[in-house]
């Protein structure tokens, strides 16, 4: 069984990181969403052998991480999740593209190796950019901003609910998994024979709980259609950041 408590701690770690008070944290969420998106699109638009041209973009993760005071270790551990599929695609390129691109001393670098390196660098940049967004923005601020962007309210509510119930269900799952583990000797994981009742039970407990919570909330006057959140001011720094990130990204793209 993967260490469930570790996963829960990781979610909470991002939550507490997002509560920081640095320059980056204080930016308007909209600025961050837009600049992240522009950055990722520009990165993805590079060709498959553009390893060297991608180098200037490394300033982005280093500078943002330093400004937002984010821990390197936690972010890097998140990258490992995406690694396998990218690595697979990259390694097949090494096998299929053996033409020499250029030589370094007496070592020939093939196009395949070059494209592997490019995929890895692209992955690093994109994943980092996305992680910065969430590590410096509270989920409530993010969903408020989504609502302002006219993402349908129902969908935003579903998003919020799912996120909140993850914490609740993880605790439930954790106690169930511990109970299962204690009764199953030294065996690892949940046997497929028991998975129906294991997950089914988790679901039914969750449903019951959700109904109770929903009733309680209704009693206190909750409706789905709440008042729209107040507009957050866009400061000069917000505009500067957005323009700067976009300008630099595009500049190095066309250069």
């Amino acid at each position: 069984m993967p260490d469930l408590s570790t996963r829960v701690r990781e979610i909470r770690a991002f939550d507490s990181l997002a509560a920081g008070k640095t320059v980056i944290h204080n930016l308007n969420p909209l600025t961050k969403i837009l600049s992240t998106f522009v950055f990722i699109i520009i990165i993805a638009s590079f060709g498959r052998y553009d390893f060297i041209r991608l180098a200037p973009y490394l300033f982005y993760p280093f500078v943002v991480m330093a400004l937002a005071e984010l821990p390197y270790k936690l972010l890097l551990s998140r990258i490992l999740i995406v690694l396998p599929f990218c690595l697979l695609a990259g390694i097949t390129n090494v096998i299929f593209e053996r033409t020499t691109a250029f030589t370094v001393g007496s070592i020939a670098i093939s196009f395949g190796v070059l494209s592997l390196a490019t995929i890895m660098l692209k992955m690093y940049l994109c994943v980092m950019a996305a992680l910065f967004l969430i590590a410096t923005t509270k989920i409530t601020d993010l969903t408020k901003e989504l609502r302002r962007l006219h993402i349908p309210m129902i969908f935003v509510i579903i998003l919020e609910m799912t996120f909140r119930y993850i914490g609740v269900l993880f605790e439930e799952l954790y106690s169930m998994a511990t109970a299962y583990k204690l009764r199953s000797g030294s065996k690892k994981g949940v046997n497929i024979k028991h998975i129906g009742s294991f997950l089914g039970q988790l679901l039914l407990r969750g449903f019951d709980r959700a109904e109770r919570i929903h009733t309680a909330m209704r009693c206190r006057g909750y409706t789905l259609y709440q008042v729209a959140p107040r507009r957050r001011k866009i400061s000069g720094l917000d505009i500067f950041t957005l323009v700067f990130v976009c300008f630099m990204s595009i500049l190095f793209r066309v250069m």
Partner: protein, 335 residues
């Protein structure tokens, strides 16, 4: 099976983002119109969180020593009906993308399409529902779950292959890629089907009303497939048209080389021909997606600008400078 940003070109990724956003928009409208909406939303949250939690559980398969995880599209559809399941799945994928970097931000639309639209809006109404139409029983639920999950993952894997190739990131020939992906996903699909069946049967046994009451609500479940398909078709035409304005005039030889290798090397012409029209469409989009003309290719080494020793050294120096920059800021902030 989550796709990553690094493996998609912006044109392909954005097209999928628009398509998935449209699917979410249509679904939200549908659910809003329904009375059940308000009651079902908390359940959607819980069911989504459950799938999320279930993905963390290692499930051991006796005798094999291997373990697997759950995708969840069909399971959600079986519990909630197709539209709520799709929205729930989209929410899960967004959360996974943001908090676990599982699938990139740009690739979100592709992932929502492959893991949400395909199982919940296509496979569920077209395969699962007809199979249990005769009435609910353990056997029917099990058969429907397994077939649907397997079919969903097959279609999903095929779309992943298509999108990756359209993005021209991998040098893998179409056929080889397909041969690598499809059988693995057949096994995973059957496995997922078994888990889905087990959970649905358990819930049906304990609380049949959860499955039957949601199922009987035809208003929410009976989405018009024609409308959805028509919407997708219109979108594809509009986006394809927009992209072709930006398209390069000289599509490179990749399309036909991919076609040739598949046909010749792997002898799977029949399979490809069966997919003929889809493939041709895909090919024409592929021709149009090269909207950044200075794309460097192996066939044209002159274009691989800057790929030399001096370039590499420059890149390394940039890396050091960037790192130093970060270090200085950190130091300055601390003091």
């Amino acid at each position: 099976m989550h796709m990553a940003d690094a493996l998609l070109s912006p044109a392909v990724a954005m097209t999928m983002n628009v398509v998935s956003a449209a699917a979410i928009g249509i679904s939200v409208k549908k659910i809003k119109k329904n009375e059940l909406g308000e009651k079902i939303i908390p359940l959607m949250g819980v069911a989504g969180a459950m799938v999320f939690a279930a993905q963390m559980v290692d499930i051991t398969i006796p005798l094999t020593g291997s373990s697997g995880h759950l995708g969840g599209g069909i399971l959600l559809a079986g519990l909630l009906g197709s539209i709520p399941a799709f929205l729930s799945m989209a929410a899960i994928l967004i959360i996974q993308c943001l908090f676990f970097a599982d699938g990139g931000l740009l690739a979100l639309g592709s992932n929502i399409f492959v893991l949400g639209v395909v199982p919940c809006l296509l496979i569920y109404p077209l395969i699962f529902k007809p199979l249990i139409k005769a009435g609910l029983s353990y056997k029917r639920i099990s058969v429907a779950s397994i077939i649907s999950a397997a079919a969903g993952l097959q279609l999903g894997a095929f779309i992943v292959v298509l999108l990756t190739l359209l993005s021209r990131i991998t040098a893998l020939p179409f056929g080889t890629f397909l041969v690598l992906m499809q059988p693995i996903h057949l096994v995973i699909g059957i496995f997922e089907g078994i888990i889905t069946a087990a959970v649905l049967c358990f819930v049906y046994n304990m609380r049949p009303e959860i499955i039957t009451s949601l199922r009987s609500d035809e208003g929410l479940d009976n989405i018009s497939m024609k409308k959805i398909l028509a919407a997708f078709a219109v979108l594809a035409v509009v986006i394809g048209g927009a992209l072709s304005l930006l398209a390069s005039e000289h599509p490179d030889g990749l399309e036909w080389s991919v076609e040739k290798t598949t046909a010749r090397v792997f002898g799977i012409e029949t399979e490809l021909e069966a997919e003929g029209s889809i493939y041709e469409n895909a090919e024409s989009i592929q021709g149009q997606t090269a909207f950044l003309p200075d794309y460097a290719f192996a066939s044209d080494p002159d274009n691989a600008f800057g790929t030399s020793l001096s370039g590499l050294i420059g890149a390394f120096i940039t890396f050091l400078a960037a790192g130093l920059c970060g270090f200085v800021i950190t130091k300055a902030k601390k003091s």
